[in-house]
Subunit: 273 residues, 2 copies
């Protein structure tokens, strides 16, 4: 038995390419179809209604391509629209918030001193912070665990500019993370696909030994778990990857390259309207 | 004779509110209808095709409200879509690039040493820089004047975050403006509605005496020039202002307040789809 349909991945932009890479490493025989809604990005500064409307339209497009699963690689869309997406999808849906929360709780338990619970700090877009989606997911797994949220909106343009380790990035991290550094949090969730590019600078603004949690790997594991063997492609040949975007420019190719760590493969322009 | 129709103003977001304020000061009896396409912002990082598509849709909406003139308060839309907008508009269209270029040339001529021409530096979004719209407009007025362009993408999120005079803003300005500071430019165009909020920090990164040109005032003058007396509203009573946006959130109200210099008046949500 083998299911040749592709796995669909959706993000507001190209930050979700780190999730795509993680899925490709873990399931190398699957075809992957990535859709970045680059004409409407960013989602993280917009209202829940607008994020849900955009996400539904993008997912409708992916479903029309006959995907066998939908991976919501965007933290903001996962935080605000996962219920709406699940409602419309006949195939399994995997977001990045639940896997990120799971990884954070595991890391926190591993670093709790006896009889104590260290707080978990979540760094995310303003929309994700307001939604408290990480807080809900973490408390569902570990009731009583303290969770703090910090919106770090400048981290997105800094990552896109490639300013991940310069003075501007360090000054921004110092400002955003001053309270987190003082809070006693030992585990910090990078709750936006862009933030891992600044991991070094973020770590530098936090006490030594702070664990940074990135949901790309755990999300890839969740995708594997969501696809029973009968729904895999089989091991005939390496899977292909197609990257679709709703707006393409030289700038976007440059930014996509930062997330892939190599020149961005062909981006195909599609229109969702 | 009196024309009671409102003047329409269009921007990708709320930065154009500075142009609205300038028009309101200069023509206090006119009704102003402002449309910010906040669901699709920013325009400045997107492709010319997408910017033109969004601009056409927004202008179509304004024209359907029976405006008597259209002010394109967004530099990126003025740079990339003014021709497309003029083509579809039966009423006068005023962009911000031509007035900004005019003001820049006047300022440059005023500071030219005898027999020399100081270069003009344009700071703008990536899309505006690539378009070379300011370069064209300046050279049309003053052939042979050197024009340099610098994209300063971080200035937009810095202005929205309210980080206009802190260490992060100063570090970003120092990086972006190092070449401009060395170039001998005496006149610097703030070619994006967000940049005037960082004027102090920008000036601090440039040689003393550098003139910063903001197109809001000159654009307002161009609006007045585009509306003959027969098309004015008359001086019966102060004009009203309506602010329409395609996405509204607490964050947006906060950001709009930064541009207005006072709490943002009611924002009305409209759907362009």
């Amino acid at each position: 038995m083998s299911d040749p349909r592709p796995i669909g991945l959706f993000d507001s932009g190209v930050g979700g390419l780190t999730v795509l890479e993680a899925v490709a490493r873990r399931m190398p025989f699957e075809d992957l179809l990535y859709l970045g809604d680059t004409a409407r990005l960013p989602y993280g500064t917009k209202s829940p209604e607008t994020v849900r409307r955009y996400a539904r339209r993008a997912i409708g497009f992916l479903l029309a391509q006959d995907v066998k699963a939908v991976v919501v690689a965007c933290n903001t869309a996962s935080a605000l629209a996962l219920d709406a997406i699940e409602e419309m999808s006949p195939v399994p849906v995997v977001g990045v918030v639940a896997p990120g929360a799971e990884a954070a709780v595991a890391a926190a338990r591993a670093s709790d001193p006896a009889g104590q619970r260290v707080p978990i700090a979540v760094l995310a877009t303003e929309a994700t912070v307001v939604s408290d989606a990480y807080g809900h997911a973490i408390r569902a797994l570990d009731p009583g665990r303290d969770v703090t949220h910090t919106a770090c909106p400048l981290f997105v343009p800094l990552a896109e500019e490639g300013w991940t380790e310069n003075e501007v990035a360090r000054a921004a991290a110092a400002l955003y993370l001053a309270d987190v550094a003082r809070s006693g949090a030992r585990v910090v969730v990078l709750g936006c696909t862009h933030y891992p590019l600044l991991a070094g600078t973020i770590a530098g603004a936090l006490p030594k030994g702070t664990v940074l949690v990135d949901s790309a790997e755990t999300a890839a594991r969740a995708v594997e778990a969501a696809l029973p063997l009968a729904f895999r492609r089989g091991e005939a040949s390496h899977g292909s990857t197609r990257l679709l975007v709703t707006d393409a420019s030289d700038r976007l190719r440059r930014v996509a390259g930062r997330f892939l760590g190599r020149p961005a493969a062909d981006l195909t322009l599609v229109d969702l309207l």
